[in-house]
Protein backbone atom coordinates (compact mmCIF):
# COMPACT_ATOMS: atom_id res chain seq x y z
CA UNK A 1 0.00 0.00 0.00
CA UNK A 2 1.53 3.28 -1.13
CA UNK A 3 1.02 6.55 0.68
CA UNK A 4 2.06 9.98 -0.48
CA UNK A 5 3.88 12.10 2.10
CA UNK A 6 2.78 15.74 1.83
CA UNK A 7 5.95 17.37 3.21
CA UNK A 8 8.58 14.91 1.96
CA UNK A 9 6.79 14.86 -1.43
CA UNK A 10 7.54 11.21 -2.06
CA UNK A 11 5.33 8.16 -2.23
CA UNK A 12 6.38 5.28 0.01
CA UNK A 13 5.15 1.85 1.02
CA UNK A 14 3.10 2.21 4.22
CA UNK A 15 4.03 -1.25 5.49
CA UNK A 16 7.74 -0.54 5.06
CA UNK A 17 7.38 2.61 7.18
CA UNK A 18 5.32 0.65 9.71
CA UNK A 19 8.10 -1.94 9.89
CA UNK A 20 10.82 0.67 10.37
CA UNK A 21 8.78 2.31 13.12
CA UNK A 22 8.24 -1.08 14.74
CA UNK A 23 11.90 -2.07 14.75
CA UNK A 24 13.07 1.28 16.10
CA UNK A 25 10.30 1.26 18.73
CA UNK A 26 11.27 -2.25 19.77
CA UNK A 27 14.89 -1.22 20.32
CA UNK A 28 13.75 1.93 22.06
CA UNK A 29 11.64 0.05 24.58
CA UNK A 30 14.31 -2.57 25.12
CA UNK A 31 17.41 -0.42 25.54
CA UNK A 32 16.10 2.99 26.48
CA UNK A 33 17.62 4.63 23.44
CA UNK A 34 15.38 6.88 21.39
CA UNK A 35 16.47 5.24 18.15
CA UNK A 36 17.22 8.51 16.36
CA UNK A 37 20.59 7.18 15.27
CA UNK A 38 18.81 4.34 13.46
CA UNK A 39 15.66 5.95 12.12
CA UNK A 40 17.35 8.81 10.30
CA UNK A 41 19.63 6.62 8.14
CA UNK A 42 16.78 4.14 7.52
CA UNK A 43 14.39 6.84 6.30
CA UNK A 44 17.12 8.33 4.18
CA UNK A 45 17.71 4.91 2.66
CA UNK A 46 14.09 4.57 1.47
CA UNK A 47 14.19 7.97 -0.22
CA UNK A 48 12.92 10.46 2.35
CA UNK A 49 14.94 13.71 2.09
CA UNK A 50 17.50 13.99 4.95
CA UNK A 51 16.02 17.16 6.47
CA UNK A 52 12.56 15.58 6.68
CA UNK A 53 14.05 12.33 8.02
CA UNK A 54 15.83 14.11 10.88
CA UNK A 55 12.83 16.22 11.92
CA UNK A 56 10.19 13.50 11.57
CA UNK A 57 12.48 10.98 13.27
CA UNK A 58 12.55 13.27 16.30
CA UNK A 59 8.76 13.37 16.35
CA UNK A 60 8.52 9.58 16.24
CA UNK A 61 11.06 9.28 19.08
CA UNK A 62 8.77 11.42 21.27
CA UNK A 63 5.97 8.89 20.82
CA UNK A 64 8.04 5.77 21.39
CA UNK A 65 9.71 7.37 24.42
CA UNK A 66 6.35 8.26 25.98
CA UNK A 67 5.20 4.71 25.38
CA UNK A 68 8.45 3.32 26.80
CA UNK A 69 8.44 5.58 29.87
CA UNK A 70 4.88 4.55 30.74
CA UNK A 71 5.90 0.91 30.51
CA UNK A 72 8.91 1.59 32.77
CA UNK A 73 6.87 3.73 35.14
CA UNK A 74 4.80 0.75 36.24
CA UNK A 75 8.02 -0.91 37.35
CA UNK A 76 8.98 2.28 39.23
CA UNK A 77 12.10 2.38 37.09
CA UNK A 78 12.15 6.13 36.40
CA UNK A 79 14.28 8.41 38.55
CA UNK A 80 12.47 11.70 38.02
CA UNK A 81 14.83 13.73 40.14
CA UNK A 82 17.84 12.50 38.18
CA UNK A 83 15.90 13.02 34.95
CA UNK A 84 15.32 16.69 35.72
CA UNK A 85 18.92 17.28 36.77
CA UNK A 86 20.15 15.72 33.52
CA UNK A 87 17.61 17.75 31.55
CA UNK A 88 18.79 21.00 33.14
CA UNK A 89 22.31 20.25 31.93
CA UNK A 90 20.93 19.07 28.58
CA UNK A 91 19.18 22.36 27.79
CA UNK A 92 22.43 24.29 28.30
CA UNK A 93 24.43 21.78 26.27
CA UNK A 94 22.03 21.73 23.35
CA UNK A 95 22.02 25.52 23.24
CA UNK A 96 25.79 25.47 22.69
CA UNK A 97 25.38 22.55 20.26
CA UNK A 98 22.89 24.41 18.07
CA UNK A 99 25.26 27.36 17.93
CA UNK A 100 28.22 25.16 16.91
CA UNK A 101 25.99 23.41 14.34
CA UNK A 102 25.09 26.72 12.72
CA UNK A 103 28.76 27.68 12.65
CA UNK A 104 29.74 24.40 10.95
CA UNK A 105 26.89 24.85 8.50
CA UNK A 106 28.25 28.24 7.50
CA UNK A 107 31.60 26.54 6.90
CA UNK A 108 29.83 24.06 4.57
CA UNK A 109 31.12 20.89 6.16
CA UNK A 110 28.24 19.95 8.40
CA UNK A 111 27.63 16.55 6.73
CA UNK A 112 31.19 15.44 7.31
CA UNK A 113 31.14 16.76 10.85
CA UNK A 114 27.96 14.82 11.66
CA UNK A 115 29.30 11.63 10.08
CA UNK A 116 32.61 11.86 11.86
CA UNK A 117 30.98 12.44 15.23
CA UNK A 118 28.71 9.44 14.61
CA UNK A 119 31.67 7.20 13.85
CA UNK A 120 33.72 8.54 16.74
CA UNK A 121 31.09 8.42 19.47
CA UNK A 122 29.19 5.34 18.35
CA UNK A 123 32.45 3.45 17.82
CA UNK A 124 33.96 4.53 21.12
CA UNK A 125 30.86 3.89 23.20
CA UNK A 126 30.04 0.63 21.45
CA UNK A 127 33.55 -0.74 21.96
CA UNK A 128 33.64 0.34 25.59
CA UNK A 129 30.26 -1.21 26.39
CA UNK A 130 31.05 -4.43 24.58
CA UNK A 131 34.34 -4.88 26.37
CA UNK A 132 32.85 -4.11 29.78
CA UNK A 133 29.76 -6.26 29.42
CA UNK A 134 31.67 -9.22 28.00
CA UNK A 135 33.96 -9.07 31.01
CA UNK A 136 30.93 -8.93 33.32
CA UNK A 137 29.36 -11.91 31.54
CA UNK A 138 32.56 -13.96 31.84
CA UNK A 139 32.83 -13.07 35.52
CA UNK A 140 29.30 -14.28 36.16
CA UNK A 141 30.19 -17.61 34.52
CA UNK A 142 32.97 -18.17 37.06
CA UNK A 143 31.19 -18.39 40.42
CA UNK A 144 34.29 -18.08 42.61
CA UNK A 145 35.68 -15.00 40.91
CA UNK A 146 36.17 -11.92 43.10
CA UNK A 147 33.10 -9.66 43.03
CA UNK A 148 33.81 -6.16 41.84
CA UNK A 149 32.10 -3.39 43.76
CA UNK A 150 29.38 -1.51 41.94
CA UNK A 151 30.75 1.93 42.63
CA UNK A 152 33.98 2.81 44.25
CA UNK A 153 34.36 6.02 46.23
CA UNK A 154 36.56 8.47 44.37
CA UNK A 155 37.04 12.19 43.89
CA UNK A 156 33.53 12.53 42.42
CA UNK A 157 32.07 11.93 45.86
CA UNK A 158 34.05 14.82 47.32
CA UNK A 159 32.19 17.41 45.21
CA UNK A 160 29.74 19.81 46.85
CA UNK A 161 25.94 20.17 46.26
CA UNK A 162 25.11 16.60 47.17
CA UNK A 163 21.61 15.37 46.46
CA UNK A 164 19.78 12.19 47.26
CA UNK A 165 18.51 10.20 44.25
CA UNK A 166 16.32 7.65 45.99
CA UNK A 167 15.18 5.68 42.92
CA UNK A 168 18.81 5.23 41.85
CA UNK A 169 20.03 4.63 45.39
CA UNK A 170 22.67 7.33 44.97
CA UNK A 171 23.81 10.20 47.15
CA UNK A 172 26.07 12.24 44.89
CA UNK A 173 26.84 15.78 43.88
CA UNK A 174 24.59 17.26 41.15
CA UNK A 175 27.66 18.47 39.22
CA UNK A 176 28.45 15.18 37.41
CA UNK A 177 24.83 14.60 36.22
CA UNK A 178 24.56 18.22 35.02
CA UNK A 179 27.82 17.85 33.11
CA UNK A 180 26.73 14.51 31.61
CA UNK A 181 23.41 16.08 30.62
CA UNK A 182 25.20 19.03 29.03
CA UNK A 183 27.57 16.78 27.06
CA UNK A 184 24.67 14.65 25.79
CA UNK A 185 22.60 17.73 24.94
CA UNK A 186 25.53 19.17 23.02
CA UNK A 187 26.11 15.98 21.00
CA UNK A 188 22.39 15.50 20.47
CA UNK A 189 22.02 18.93 18.91
CA UNK A 190 25.01 18.36 16.64
CA UNK A 191 24.10 14.84 15.56
CA UNK A 192 20.36 15.39 15.39
CA UNK A 193 19.49 12.56 17.76
CA UNK A 194 17.98 12.23 21.24
CA UNK A 195 21.32 11.06 22.60
CA UNK A 196 20.09 7.93 24.39
CA UNK A 197 22.97 5.84 23.12
CA UNK A 198 25.38 8.23 24.86
CA UNK A 199 23.15 8.81 27.88
CA UNK A 200 22.64 5.13 28.76
CA UNK A 201 26.35 4.23 29.05
CA UNK A 202 27.13 7.58 30.69
CA UNK A 203 24.55 6.86 33.40
CA UNK A 204 25.88 3.37 33.97
CA UNK A 205 29.60 4.01 33.85
CA UNK A 206 30.02 7.66 34.83
CA UNK A 207 27.23 8.10 37.37
CA UNK A 208 27.10 4.50 38.59
CA UNK A 209 23.30 4.28 38.31
CA UNK A 210 21.73 0.82 38.56
CA UNK A 211 20.82 -0.58 35.12
CA UNK A 212 17.16 -1.06 36.03
CA UNK A 213 16.46 2.68 36.38
CA UNK A 214 18.73 3.76 33.53
CA UNK A 215 16.35 2.88 30.70
CA UNK A 216 13.33 4.65 32.13
CA UNK A 217 15.25 7.74 33.20
CA UNK A 218 16.98 8.02 29.85
CA UNK A 219 13.67 7.77 27.99
CA UNK A 220 12.10 10.34 30.30
CA UNK A 221 14.85 12.80 29.48
CA UNK A 222 14.73 12.01 25.74
CA UNK A 223 11.04 12.97 25.54
CA UNK A 224 11.88 16.57 26.35
CA UNK A 225 14.96 16.80 24.15
CA UNK A 226 13.18 15.42 21.08
CA UNK A 227 9.98 17.40 21.73
CA UNK A 228 12.09 20.56 21.68
CA UNK A 229 13.84 19.41 18.48
CA UNK A 230 10.54 18.62 16.75
CA UNK A 231 9.02 22.04 17.41
CA UNK A 232 12.27 23.78 16.43
CA UNK A 233 12.37 21.94 13.10
CA UNK A 234 8.67 22.55 12.44
CA UNK A 235 9.09 26.28 13.01
CA UNK A 236 12.44 26.92 11.35
CA UNK A 237 12.48 24.56 8.38
CA UNK A 238 8.93 23.09 8.12
CA UNK A 239 10.33 19.61 7.64
CA UNK A 240 8.15 17.60 10.05
CA UNK A 241 5.97 15.29 7.97
CA UNK A 242 2.88 14.50 10.00
CA UNK A 243 1.72 11.74 7.68
CA UNK A 244 5.08 9.97 7.85
CA UNK A 245 5.25 10.52 11.62
CA UNK A 246 1.81 8.99 12.17
CA UNK A 247 2.65 5.75 10.36
CA UNK A 248 6.07 5.54 12.04
CA UNK A 249 4.50 6.21 15.42
CA UNK A 250 1.85 3.55 14.94
CA UNK A 251 4.56 0.95 14.34
CA UNK A 252 6.83 2.51 16.96
CA UNK A 253 4.51 2.55 19.96
CA UNK A 254 3.62 -1.10 19.47
CA UNK A 255 7.27 -2.00 19.01
CA UNK A 256 8.20 -0.08 22.17
CA UNK A 257 5.72 -2.02 24.29
CA UNK A 258 6.97 -5.37 22.99
CA UNK A 259 10.58 -4.24 23.38
CA UNK A 260 10.06 -3.21 27.01
CA UNK A 261 8.67 -6.68 27.78
CA UNK A 262 11.43 -8.55 25.94
CA UNK A 263 13.96 -6.37 27.77
CA UNK A 264 12.58 -7.61 31.08
CA UNK A 265 13.36 -11.20 30.18
CA UNK A 266 17.00 -10.54 29.30
CA UNK A 267 19.83 -10.15 31.77
CA UNK A 268 21.41 -6.72 32.08
CA UNK A 269 24.71 -7.99 30.62
CA UNK A 270 23.02 -9.53 27.62
CA UNK A 271 21.06 -6.34 27.05
CA UNK A 272 24.23 -4.30 27.09
CA UNK A 273 26.08 -6.66 24.73
CA UNK A 274 23.22 -6.43 22.23
CA UNK A 275 23.06 -2.66 22.43
CA UNK A 276 26.83 -2.34 22.04
CA UNK A 277 26.82 -4.61 18.97
CA UNK A 278 24.03 -2.54 17.43
CA UNK A 279 25.86 0.71 18.11
CA UNK A 280 29.10 -0.73 16.66
CA UNK A 281 27.29 -1.96 13.53
CA UNK A 282 25.90 1.53 12.81
CA UNK A 283 29.35 3.07 13.43
CA UNK A 284 31.01 0.61 11.01
CA UNK A 285 28.35 1.26 8.38
CA UNK A 286 28.93 5.01 8.48
CA UNK A 287 32.71 4.52 8.56
CA UNK A 288 32.46 2.33 5.45
CA UNK A 289 30.59 5.13 3.66
CA UNK A 290 33.44 7.48 4.41
CA UNK A 291 36.25 5.10 3.46
CA UNK A 292 34.95 3.24 0.40
CA UNK A 293 34.84 5.06 -2.91
CA UNK A 294 31.16 5.82 -3.59
CA UNK A 295 29.64 4.47 -6.82
CA UNK A 296 28.25 7.90 -7.66
CA UNK A 297 30.54 10.76 -6.70
CA UNK A 298 27.94 13.40 -7.38
CA UNK A 299 24.81 14.14 -5.41
CA UNK A 300 21.87 16.38 -6.27
CA UNK A 301 20.08 18.33 -3.54
CA UNK A 302 17.16 20.65 -4.04
CA UNK A 303 18.43 23.86 -2.61
CA UNK A 304 17.90 27.57 -2.46
CA UNK A 305 20.57 29.75 -3.89
CA UNK A 306 22.60 31.69 -1.35
Amino acid sequence: MQIYLPIAEVSVDAFLILGIGGIVGFLSGMFGVGGGFLITPLLFFIGVPPAVAVATGANQVVASSVSGVLAQLKRKAVDFRMGFVLLAGGVGGSGIGIWVFAWMKAKGQVDLFVQLSYVLFLGLIGAMMLQESLRALLRSRKPNAPVRRAHVHNWVHGLPLKMKFRASGLYISVIPPVLVGALVGFLAAIMGVGGGFIMVPAMIYLLGMPTKVVVGTSLFQIIFVTAFTTVMHAVTSQTVDMMLALVLIFGGVIGAQIGARVGLRLKAEQLRILLSLLVLAVALRIAADLLIRPAELYSVMPGVLP
Binding site: D111, A234, V300, M301
Partner: protein, 256 residues
Amino acid sequence: MIRRLLLAFCLLAGPAGAQEKPPETIVAGLSQNRVSITADFDGSEILVYGAVRRDSPPPEGRLDVIVTIEGPATPLMVRRKDRVWGIWVNNASIAVDSAPSFYAVATTGHLHDILSATENLRQGITIDRVIRAVGITAEADASEAFVEAMMRVRTGEGRYRLMENRVQLTEQTLFRTDVVLPANLTEGIYKVRLFLLRGGKVVASQERQINVRKAGLERMVYNMAREQPLIYGLVSLMLAAVSGWAASAAFRLFRA
Protein backbone atom coordinates in the same frame (compact mmCIF):
# COMPACT_ATOMS: atom_id res chain seq x y z
CA MET B 1 11.18 23.00 -73.75
CA ILE B 2 10.61 26.41 -72.20
CA ARG B 3 7.06 25.46 -71.41
CA ARG B 4 8.30 22.34 -69.59
CA LEU B 5 10.75 24.37 -67.54
CA LEU B 6 8.02 26.81 -66.62
CA LEU B 7 5.79 23.95 -65.53
CA ALA B 8 8.55 22.47 -63.40
CA PHE B 9 9.17 25.89 -61.88
CA CYS B 10 5.51 26.28 -61.05
CA LEU B 11 5.46 22.89 -59.42
CA LEU B 12 8.50 23.74 -57.28
CA ALA B 13 7.17 27.16 -56.34
CA GLY B 14 3.76 25.74 -55.50
CA PRO B 15 4.45 24.37 -52.03
CA ALA B 16 6.82 27.26 -51.23
CA GLY B 17 4.15 29.80 -52.01
CA ALA B 18 1.73 28.14 -49.63
CA GLN B 19 4.07 28.68 -46.65
CA GLU B 20 2.24 31.80 -45.51
CA LYS B 21 -0.41 29.48 -44.20
CA PRO B 22 1.29 26.41 -42.63
CA PRO B 23 0.39 23.29 -44.56
CA GLU B 24 0.23 21.16 -41.40
CA THR B 25 -0.92 21.97 -37.88
CA ILE B 26 -1.38 19.96 -34.69
CA VAL B 27 -4.65 19.33 -32.95
CA ALA B 28 -3.93 17.85 -29.52
CA GLY B 29 -5.54 16.79 -26.28
CA LEU B 30 -4.68 15.28 -22.91
CA SER B 31 -6.53 12.53 -21.09
CA GLN B 32 -6.57 14.81 -18.05
CA ASN B 33 -5.40 18.34 -17.45
CA ARG B 34 -5.30 18.16 -13.67
CA VAL B 35 -3.70 15.64 -11.32
CA SER B 36 -4.72 15.58 -7.67
CA ILE B 37 -2.16 14.24 -5.21
CA THR B 38 -4.10 12.49 -2.48
CA ALA B 39 -2.85 10.24 0.33
CA ASP B 40 -2.95 7.11 -1.83
CA PHE B 41 -1.36 8.75 -4.88
CA ASP B 42 1.22 6.52 -6.52
CA GLY B 43 1.80 8.00 -9.93
CA SER B 44 -0.50 8.86 -12.79
CA GLU B 45 -0.63 7.98 -16.46
CA ILE B 46 -1.29 10.78 -18.90
CA LEU B 47 -2.42 10.03 -22.42
CA VAL B 48 -1.32 12.63 -24.94
CA TYR B 49 -3.13 12.28 -28.27
CA GLY B 50 -3.75 14.32 -31.35
CA ALA B 51 -3.93 14.58 -35.10
CA VAL B 52 -2.17 16.39 -37.92
CA ARG B 53 -4.49 18.71 -39.77
CA ARG B 54 -3.65 19.54 -43.37
CA ASP B 55 -5.66 21.20 -46.13
CA SER B 56 -3.49 19.91 -48.97
CA PRO B 57 -1.83 16.55 -49.72
CA PRO B 58 1.09 15.80 -47.32
CA PRO B 59 4.42 17.36 -48.35
CA GLU B 60 7.60 15.40 -48.97
CA GLY B 61 9.85 14.20 -46.14
CA ARG B 62 9.58 12.01 -43.09
CA LEU B 63 6.86 13.00 -40.59
CA ASP B 64 7.70 12.77 -36.88
CA VAL B 65 6.16 13.79 -33.60
CA ILE B 66 7.97 14.71 -30.37
CA VAL B 67 6.14 15.18 -27.08
CA THR B 68 7.84 16.73 -24.04
CA ILE B 69 6.49 17.05 -20.50
CA GLU B 70 8.27 19.45 -18.18
CA GLY B 71 7.70 19.75 -14.43
CA PRO B 72 8.14 22.92 -12.38
CA ALA B 73 11.75 24.03 -12.08
CA THR B 74 13.66 24.38 -8.82
CA PRO B 75 17.17 25.54 -7.91
CA LEU B 76 19.61 22.70 -7.21
CA MET B 77 22.95 22.07 -5.58
CA VAL B 78 25.19 19.50 -7.24
CA ARG B 79 28.00 18.27 -5.03
CA ARG B 80 31.02 16.16 -5.79
CA LYS B 81 32.80 13.94 -3.31
CA ASP B 82 36.57 13.90 -3.25
CA ARG B 83 39.06 11.97 -1.21
CA VAL B 84 40.51 14.24 1.46
CA TRP B 85 42.87 12.69 4.02
CA GLY B 86 41.66 9.21 3.13
CA ILE B 87 37.93 9.84 3.53
CA TRP B 88 35.29 10.74 0.97
CA VAL B 89 33.79 14.15 1.66
CA ASN B 90 31.63 16.61 -0.23
CA ASN B 91 34.16 18.93 -1.72
CA ALA B 92 33.29 20.94 -4.81
CA SER B 93 29.76 22.05 -5.62
CA ILE B 94 27.87 24.12 -8.14
CA ALA B 95 24.46 25.75 -7.95
CA VAL B 96 22.05 25.23 -10.82
CA ASP B 97 19.66 28.20 -10.96
CA SER B 98 16.76 26.19 -12.15
CA ALA B 99 16.28 22.67 -13.43
CA PRO B 100 12.95 20.95 -14.14
CA SER B 101 11.86 18.53 -11.42
CA PHE B 102 10.57 16.22 -14.15
CA TYR B 103 11.27 16.00 -17.85
CA ALA B 104 10.16 13.40 -20.34
CA VAL B 105 10.70 13.31 -24.09
CA ALA B 106 8.68 10.86 -26.19
CA THR B 107 9.36 10.49 -29.91
CA THR B 108 8.37 8.52 -32.97
CA GLY B 109 11.97 7.59 -33.80
CA HIS B 110 15.58 7.91 -32.71
CA LEU B 111 16.07 11.47 -31.60
CA HIS B 112 19.31 11.84 -33.59
CA ASP B 113 17.58 10.79 -36.81
CA ILE B 114 14.47 12.92 -36.53
CA LEU B 115 15.74 16.13 -34.93
CA SER B 116 18.53 18.31 -36.29
CA ALA B 117 20.95 19.91 -33.85
CA THR B 118 20.05 23.46 -34.87
CA GLU B 119 16.36 22.81 -34.48
CA ASN B 120 16.97 21.33 -31.03
CA LEU B 121 18.95 24.43 -30.11
CA ARG B 122 16.17 26.69 -31.33
CA GLN B 123 13.26 24.90 -29.70
CA GLY B 124 15.02 23.54 -26.59
CA ILE B 125 13.71 20.01 -26.82
CA THR B 126 16.23 17.67 -25.16
CA ILE B 127 16.86 17.92 -21.42
CA ASP B 128 20.42 19.25 -21.75
CA ARG B 129 19.07 22.12 -23.86
CA VAL B 130 16.40 22.93 -21.28
CA ILE B 131 18.93 23.16 -18.46
CA ARG B 132 21.55 25.03 -20.46
CA ALA B 133 19.00 27.52 -21.67
CA VAL B 134 18.60 28.73 -18.10
CA GLY B 135 22.30 28.98 -17.37
CA ILE B 136 24.65 27.70 -14.73
CA THR B 137 26.56 29.76 -12.24
CA ALA B 138 30.12 28.67 -12.76
CA GLU B 139 31.57 28.07 -9.32
CA ALA B 140 33.62 24.96 -9.89
CA ASP B 141 36.21 24.54 -12.60
CA ALA B 142 34.47 21.74 -14.51
CA SER B 143 30.80 22.74 -14.41
CA GLU B 144 30.18 20.64 -17.54
CA ALA B 145 30.90 17.46 -15.57
CA PHE B 146 28.50 18.56 -12.82
CA VAL B 147 25.62 19.10 -15.21
CA GLU B 148 26.25 15.73 -16.83
CA ALA B 149 26.31 14.10 -13.40
CA MET B 150 23.07 15.82 -12.46
CA MET B 151 21.34 14.49 -15.57
CA ARG B 152 22.75 11.02 -14.86
CA VAL B 153 21.51 11.05 -11.25
CA ARG B 154 18.07 12.35 -12.18
CA THR B 155 17.74 9.90 -15.06
CA GLY B 156 18.55 7.15 -12.55
CA GLU B 157 15.78 8.46 -10.30
CA GLY B 158 13.30 8.32 -13.17
CA ARG B 159 12.88 12.08 -13.17
CA TYR B 160 14.41 12.60 -16.60
CA ARG B 161 13.36 10.22 -19.34
CA LEU B 162 13.99 9.78 -23.00
CA MET B 163 11.36 7.53 -24.55
CA GLU B 164 12.30 6.93 -28.17
CA ASN B 165 9.83 5.19 -30.49
CA ARG B 166 7.10 5.57 -27.92
CA VAL B 167 4.83 7.88 -29.88
CA GLN B 168 2.56 5.89 -32.18
CA LEU B 169 1.84 7.60 -35.47
CA THR B 170 -0.98 6.13 -37.55
CA GLU B 171 -1.62 6.90 -41.23
CA GLN B 172 0.63 9.99 -41.04
CA THR B 173 -2.22 11.68 -39.16
CA LEU B 174 -3.15 10.31 -35.75
CA PHE B 175 -0.67 10.04 -32.91
CA ARG B 176 -0.75 9.06 -29.25
CA THR B 177 1.62 8.39 -26.36
CA ASP B 178 1.34 7.47 -22.69
CA VAL B 179 3.56 9.21 -20.17
CA VAL B 180 3.71 7.85 -16.64
CA LEU B 181 4.14 10.58 -14.05
CA PRO B 182 6.09 9.18 -11.08
CA ALA B 183 4.76 9.01 -7.53
CA ASN B 184 7.19 11.60 -6.17
CA LEU B 185 5.74 14.52 -8.10
CA THR B 186 6.46 18.13 -7.29
CA GLU B 187 3.41 20.34 -7.16
CA GLY B 188 2.93 22.87 -9.92
CA ILE B 189 2.15 23.40 -13.58
CA TYR B 190 3.46 20.73 -15.95
CA LYS B 191 4.06 21.99 -19.44
CA VAL B 192 3.31 19.62 -22.32
CA ARG B 193 4.81 20.55 -25.69
CA LEU B 194 4.07 18.80 -28.97
CA PHE B 195 6.28 19.21 -32.03
CA LEU B 196 5.53 18.12 -35.58
CA LEU B 197 8.68 17.53 -37.61
CA ARG B 198 9.28 17.18 -41.34
CA GLY B 199 12.77 16.06 -42.33
CA GLY B 200 14.34 17.16 -39.02
CA LYS B 201 12.66 20.57 -38.97
CA VAL B 202 9.83 21.63 -36.67
CA VAL B 203 6.87 22.61 -38.84
CA ALA B 204 4.25 23.02 -36.14
CA SER B 205 4.00 23.00 -32.36
CA GLN B 206 1.39 23.11 -29.62
CA GLU B 207 1.42 23.66 -25.85
CA ARG B 208 -0.83 22.23 -23.16
CA GLN B 209 -0.74 22.30 -19.37
CA ILE B 210 -1.34 19.82 -16.59
CA ASN B 211 -2.10 21.23 -13.17
CA VAL B 212 -0.65 19.01 -10.42
CA ARG B 213 -2.02 19.88 -6.99
CA LYS B 214 -2.12 18.30 -3.58
CA ALA B 215 -5.69 17.63 -2.53
CA GLY B 216 -7.71 16.71 0.54
CA LEU B 217 -5.74 15.73 3.63
CA GLU B 218 -2.42 16.24 1.85
CA ARG B 219 -3.30 19.86 1.09
CA MET B 220 -4.51 20.50 4.61
CA VAL B 221 -1.34 19.15 6.22
CA TYR B 222 0.90 20.97 3.75
CA ASN B 223 -0.86 24.32 4.20
CA MET B 224 -0.83 24.02 7.96
CA ALA B 225 2.90 23.24 8.02
CA ARG B 226 3.57 26.35 5.93
CA GLU B 227 1.14 28.80 7.46
CA GLN B 228 0.99 27.78 11.13
CA PRO B 229 4.37 26.14 11.78
CA LEU B 230 4.26 26.50 15.57
CA ILE B 231 0.76 25.07 15.89
CA TYR B 232 1.67 22.35 13.41
CA GLY B 233 4.73 21.41 15.48
CA LEU B 234 2.69 21.31 18.68
CA VAL B 235 -0.05 19.24 17.05
CA SER B 236 2.61 16.77 15.84
CA LEU B 237 3.89 16.54 19.40
CA MET B 238 0.39 16.03 20.80
CA LEU B 239 -0.26 13.25 18.31
CA ALA B 240 3.00 11.60 19.29
CA ALA B 241 2.38 11.86 23.04
CA VAL B 242 -1.24 10.70 22.78
CA SER B 243 -0.37 7.71 20.61
CA GLY B 244 2.46 6.78 22.96
CA TRP B 245 0.04 6.87 25.87
CA ALA B 246 -2.71 5.07 23.94
CA ALA B 247 -0.38 2.22 23.00
CA SER B 248 0.70 1.84 26.60
CA ALA B 249 -2.91 1.82 27.82
CA ALA B 250 -3.97 -0.61 25.10
CA PHE B 251 -1.23 -3.04 26.02
CA ARG B 252 -2.18 -2.84 29.69
CA LEU B 253 -5.76 -3.77 28.78
CA PHE B 254 -4.43 -6.51 26.55
CA ARG B 255 -2.47 -8.09 29.38
CA ALA B 256 -5.13 -7.61 32.05
